[in-house]
């Protein structure tokens, strides 16, 4: 493929046109470099998104009450919707087939909680026993809230790891009493959560207890349901649809009202972030390709120049017996060679760059493990060869059409 003669020719052409070759090659190298770096960063970002969901169950949905935006059944729009104990109990009964775990969640704004001399602001949530299952909370000490606590409206709390650190330090908090909202609460458990620092700053109490300190309200805040994984993706969609229409009917919300209630699902969140990173990747590829294209045009340019420079030589070759095909092949080989070498340089530098900044990225930019896999690298190589061919094609064709008689009279 590349005979010794051919190498000699290629190297000679390059050495005679060092500056042009370097410039043209640099454009290609730069194009590949940009593509590789951006693509790698895109991968890293995708990894980050995936990690966000690592600790959450994907088969969880959060049902949030909102305000209606349409009048319906004698009610005006902008009506505030609330879920109550009956809603919670009825939903639980009616959709028992789908449900693996269901819990309400009443979130109170951060307030001052203290133990002896230490105090800080923490958020308190009123929840049911299934909350632990739904949020994959891991108990470090003691236990989570159970149904007896709910029925008896006990003033028990389960505190996050960071709450324990703040208020108790090294001391064992189980069985001790903390103060909040003018009442005492007994600590029955400590939990940890991989979902980030914020989770571990929460304090959980039975939702019925929270209801009773909120002037006997029946409000349950939001309802969180983890559905049985066996129902599959289609089953989940059906479930969401059914429950949405049930609640809307029950609360007298216009079926066509986009507000009123809002259901957030972990799987649709993940899909959204996947879509986002896919779009990002597309944009990146587009940019990278654009730069690459510019590089190809540069190479094509230099090949045209080279062909012009070598017109006389090409005429001699033709006079001696070179077929048009061999001339075309000659030019193409040079063009492919330059493109591929420049491309590889760009690839190499890009990959080196990615792996060297990998750690910094994780800390400063939340980008985890940027990388370009082998498959992509091979694909890039193939593309380079193809592009090199394209770049050299027109000059090559021009070269093969040189009339020996005219070429020999050149210069």
């Amino acid at each position: 493929m590349f005979s010794r003669d051919r190498w000699l020719e290629i190297l000679d052409t390059i050495s005679k046109n060092k500056l042009r070759t370097i410039l043209a090659g640099s454009t290609v190298a730069l194009g590949i470099l940009i593509f590789v770096v951006l693509y790698g960063l895109g991968n890293g970002l995708e990894n980050t998104f995936k990690s966000f969901f690592k600790d959450d169950q994907l088969n969880t949905i959060w049902i949030n009450p909102g305000r209606t935006s349409k009048p319906y059944a004698g009610y005006e729009s902008n009506r505030r919707i609330e879920f109550d104990n009956d809603d919670y109990a009825d939903i639980s009964e009616k959709f028992d087939f789908f449900i693996d775990g269901i819990t309400p969640r009443i979130t109170l704004t951060a307030r001052n909680i203290s133990y002896k001399l230490k105090s800080n602001n923490f958020s308190v949530r009123g929840v049911g026993p299934d909350h632990q299952k739904n949020e994959m909370t891991i108990m470090m000490q003691g236990r989570f809230i159970n149904s007896k606590d709910i029925i008896n409206k006990e003033r028990y709390v389960v505190i996050g790891r960071l709450v324990k650190q703040d208020l108790f330090g090294e001391e064992n908090p189980i069985g001790k009493f903390i103060n909040g909202g003018g009442r005492t609460w007994k600590v029955i458990g400590v939990f940890q959560d991989d979902g980030g620092d914020n989770e571990e700053r929460y304090i959980y109490a039975p939702y019925t207890t929270i209801q009773s300190i909120q002037r006997g309200s029946d409000n349950v805040g939001q309802i969180i349901i983890t559905y049985k994984p066996e129902i599959g993706f289609d089953g989940a969609l059906e479930f969401e649809k059914k429950i949405k229409s049930y609640i809307k009917n029950r609360k007298k919300i216009d079926p066509a009202d986009p507000r009123g209630i809002f259901i957030r699902s972990a799987s649709s969140d993940l899909k959204e972030s996947e879509d986002f990173s896919n779009v990002l990747k597309m944009i990146v590829s587009f940019v990278g390709l654009g730069t690459l294209l510019a590089g190809i045009i540069g190479i094509s340019n230099i090949m045209v120049y080279v062909v012009k420079e070598r017109t006389k030589e090409l005429g001699i070759r033709k006079a001696i017996g070179a077929t048009p095909k061999s001339i075309v092949w000659m030019v193409l080989q040079e063009s492919i060679f330059i493109t591929t070498i420049s491309g590889y340089i760009g690839l190499f530098v890009g990959v080196m760059f990615l792996s060297s900044i990998g750690d910094t990225l994780q800390e400063d930019f939340y980008i985890i493990d940027p990388y370009v896999d082998l498959y992509t690298a091979l694909l890039a190589t193939l593309m380079l060869i193809v592009f090199g061919g394209i770049a050299g094609f027109i000059p090559a064709k021009k070269a093969s059409n040189i009339k020996p008689i005219e070429a020999l009279n050149d210069k």
């Binding site: 003669d5 020719e9 030589e313 001699i316 070759r317 001696i320 017996g321 093969s400 009339k403 020999l408």
Partner: protein, 230 residues
């Protein structure tokens, strides 16, 4: 060897067409050493180019060693050129980044001959022109006369039927010219048909037949007693 009847050739320059060859008839037998003379514009270079298959004729016929040469695709033309014809030019036309040996090898490379064989053959022809020790020198390290001798070796290496020389001594001093013509005469003596286009009287005297062109037609065609170059 060469049979040409009623050869016409015109060039288009802008909107006008220049009728360069106006019906040439000429026959050249194998082994002849023919000088083709004429002032510039007479059509001598055009004739040589057509014979050399570097250009196509418009009208008339051209037969080379019994093969009718007419307009053909480049690939076929290149093959014919490689097999039947050898060229020597006024400005040598060697490839400047290849050494003498590699220049001579080139026609063989296009014949698809293997590396070892072609190196051997090229070296033989290089020795024949007396430049065996200069085989690894680049053209810019050779004198004019040496360059022309390399060109002659290159033209001969493919063992063509006809050698075409276009002002072969045009860029050389008189002594070197004589050396080159001596070489050409030797090759002719060995049986090669050679055409030499020249405008120099001295050079034409070293051939065995002189054909004079004027305004696209042959005005004189006579055999002469060949003078020895050296």
């Amino acid at each position: 060897m060469i049979k040409i009847k009623n050869l016409h050739k015109s060039y288009n320059i802008g909107k006008n067409s220049l009728h360069v060859l106006k019906g040439l008839d000429i026959e050249i037998k194998e082994g002849e050493l023919v000088a083709i003379m004429g002032s510039s514009g007479s059509g001598k270079s055009t004739l040589l180019n057509i014979i050399g298959m570097l250009d196509n004729h418009d009208k008339g016929s051209y037969e080379l060693d019994g093969v009718i040469i007419k307009k053909m695709n480049e690939t076929k033309a290149a093959e014919y050129r490689n097999k039947f014809l050898g060229f020597v030019f006024q400005s040598f036309n060697l490839i400047n980044y290849k050494n003498a040996l590699d220049n001579v090898i080139l026609p063989l490379y296009y014949q698809g001959i293997s590396r070892k064989v072609r190196e051997k053959k090229a070296l033989k022809y290089l020795s024949d022109v007396g430049l065996k020790n200069w085989s690894h020198h680049l053209p810019n390290e050779l004198s004019g006369g040496q360059k022309q001798r390399v060109a002659i070796a290159r033209a001969m290496v493919s063992e063509p039927k006809v050698l075409l020389a276009d002002e072969p001594t045009g860029a050389l001093d008189s002594n070197t010219s004589k050396e080159v013509m001596d070489l050409i005469q030797k090759i002719n003596k060995a049986g090669k048909t050679i055409l030499v286009v020249t405008h120099e009287h001295d050079i034409s005297q070293m051939c065995s037949r002189i054909v004079k062109l004027k305004d696209g037609v042959i005005v004189e065609d006579k055999k002469i007693k060949q003078k020895k170059a050296l």
